[in-house]
């Protein structure tokens, strides 16, 4: 079993991804870290538009909700 095959468990157990990392994968740990250190391993970050989306969904919308709740209270 590879870490790839373990992924369905990860979302369920949250941070508990891989207590049961298979022996082969544990043996491969040093190599894995070296590979993960390479720049090409980096995932993509947010694009500029995503920051606007985050601001809209988690700042502006809640702010409006907050004001509405105050008016209703």
């Amino acid at each position: 079993m590879t870490a790839h095959e373990l992924t369905p468990l990860a979302g369920v157990a949250g941070p508990a991804l891989v207590h049961h990392l298979p022996t082969g994968a544990v043996d491969d740990f040093a190599h894995r870290v070296e590979l993960a250190s390479e720049a090409s391993n980096d995932g993509d970050s947010y694009a500029v538009v995503d920051y606007y989306a985050v601001a809209l969904a988690t700042v502006l919308v809640p702010l409006v909700m907050f004001v509405v709740a105050l008016l209703l209270a």
Partner: protein
């Protein structure tokens, strides 16, 4: 790059916590959405909603809860999500960059306490459900209810220990079925409440013990759900690390965590308003409102669902504490599983009802510690490290490790944490849940996060000037240079 000890497997901080390579991060948005939903939805949502019933009516409470959840998820989106998605590391390990190569054990401890807290909530509900079933069926008398609850809680924890000590792969499929079942249960509870008092009865129900100041009632409800969402910090890192980009994780995180949590919590709020003594907990009224047959079936489902939810939480907590090498070396997996369950057992025996009745205190403690942590992480990652980490240093240790700082602890994080916690305490007493000073206009978690981030940034200027923490390398490093260096 880091010049710590060689990256042999024996020097790694935690073998359970391998970094995921980009090629292994195969989750799409839909996978994350489903996983987030199954993580967020458990019977604790009812009790969370029930806490708002003290302060607000149904409509205002629902709006305030949703606002709080969205704000809390916003905090998560700018703290743990970018780091975990870019480097495939989980929440606790990601804190090593700002807490230090030993200071990050505090994050592990927080993770452990928070998971134990959530576990305790569902174990208490489990005990109540078992006792209610037995009382309803006439198998025990009312006078034996409390003792039965305690025995049921301990038995439930025993079952959980027996299962997870074997590293059950059943965990993988149980969570989504639990989430689905809880959503069905919530729908049934809503139907029962409407049948009992009608829609207008739900909408007209008055809050149970509001403050005189209406704005304070709104803010304290918003604060409770900001803390609830921030309390997902340990879970979120473990999930989004399986997604290849922050962009892919953005909307599924918002919808997967916010919508289901809000939906079930709103029904908990309605239950809390209509059945005041329940605090939103359906075990208190299912048999009376739904009849014996439905009530017993629903309660039996709650028992099974809560055993499943406790397994997931305890499993995560056991893995979390085994990330600390000193604990990992001295404990077997079985012992770690037992350690993960002991706090819940102690609370179950001595303070079960008090713990659930004062759930907002637990939420406040989550906000007290995690809000500063999130603020510090966002500042560290975006402003100081320019979104570039030394992955090798995350998994190694030694005097020259990039994240060693001084004796493994970053004093800037201590300062940031101290300022954040002090700010929170100035605004809200976490033990009595009493607002202070200008809490009504700001909440406590948000100022705490901002103050911690600002103090950390200022203190880090000194740390950077002293050549510690790898900030200078982070500021000058770019991907092309890194690739070239690795090839040499």
């Amino acid at each position: 790059m880091n010049a710590g000890k060689p990256a042999s497997s024996s020097s790694f901080a935690g073998l359970d916590n391998a970094p995921l390579l980009k090629s292994e991060r195969t989750w799409r948005g839909g996978t994350l959405l489903a996983s987030s939903t199954s993580t967020a939805v458990a019977t604790w949502c009812f009790v969370l909603g029930g806490t708002v019933a003290y302060y607000l009516d149904a409509v205002t409470g629902a709006i305030a809860m949703m606002a709080g959840i969205l704000i809390g998820i916003g905090v998560i989106l700018i703290s743990i999500v970018p780091v975990a998605t870019k480097y495939g590391v989980d929440s606790a390990l990601s804190s090593k960059t700002f807490m230090g190569s030993r200071g990050w054990y505090l994050a592990v401890a927080l993770l452990f306490v928070i998971l134990a807290g959530w576990n305790t909530v569902i174990v208490v509900i489990l005990g109540r459900a078992v006792a209610e079933i037995l009382v309803t069926m006439g198998l025990i008398g009312e006078q034996a209810r409390s003792a039965t609850e305690v025995i049921a809680m301990l038995a439930g924890l025993g079952v959980v220990w027996l299962v997870i000590r074997r590293g059950s792969s059943a965990l993988a499929s149980s969570s989504k079925w639990i989430a689905l079942g809880v959503l069905v249960l919530a729908t049934c509870v809503l139907g029962l409440l409407i049948k009992e008092v009608g829609v207008s009865g739900l909408l007209d129900a008055a809050p149970l013990a509001p403050f005189d100041n209406k704005a304070t009632n709104v803010t304290i409800s918003v604060e409770a759900f900001i803390a609830t969402a921030i309390a997902w910090w340990p879970y979120v890192g473990g999930m989004v690390r399986l997604v290849p980009s922050a962009r892919t994780a953005l909307w599924p995180s918002i919808f997967g965590l916010a919508v289901p949590l809000a939906a079930v919590s709103i029904i908990g709020l309605l239950a809390g308003l209509v059945v005041p003594d329940s605090g939103g907990d359906p075990t208190a009224f299912l048999t009376q409102v739904g009849g014996v047959v439905f009530g017993v079936i629903a309660l039996a489902f709650i028992v099974l669902a809560n055993v499943g939810s406790t397994m997931v939480g305890a499993y995560s907590a056991a893995v979390g504490i085994r990330q600390v090498p000193a604990i990992s070396r001295r404990t077997s997996w079985s012992t770690a599983c037992a350690l993960a369950l002991i706090p819940s057992a102690v609370v179950a025996v001595f303070f079960a009802d008090a713990f659930v009745a004062n759930l907002q205190v637990f939420l406040a403690v989550c906000g007290l510690f995690l809000a500063p942590m999130c603020g510090i992480q966002a500042v560290d990652y975006f402003l100081l490290r320019r979104q570039t980490l030394d992955v090798r240093a995350l998994y190694t240790d030694g005097p020259t490790n990039t994240y060693r700082f001084w004796a493994g602890v970053n004093p800037a994080a201590v300062v940031g944490f101290g300022v954040g916690v002090a700010t929170f305490l100035m605004l809200l007493d976490p033990l009595t849940y009493t607002p202070r000073t200008f809490f009504t206009y700001t909440t406590a978690s948000l100022p705490s996060m901002l103050a911690a981030g600002a103090a950390y940034w200022l203190a880090s200027l000194v740390v950077r000037r002293m050549g510690k923490g790898g900030y200078r390398e982070a500021a000058t490093r770019d991907p092309a240079q890194m690739a070239e260096r690795l090839q040499r």
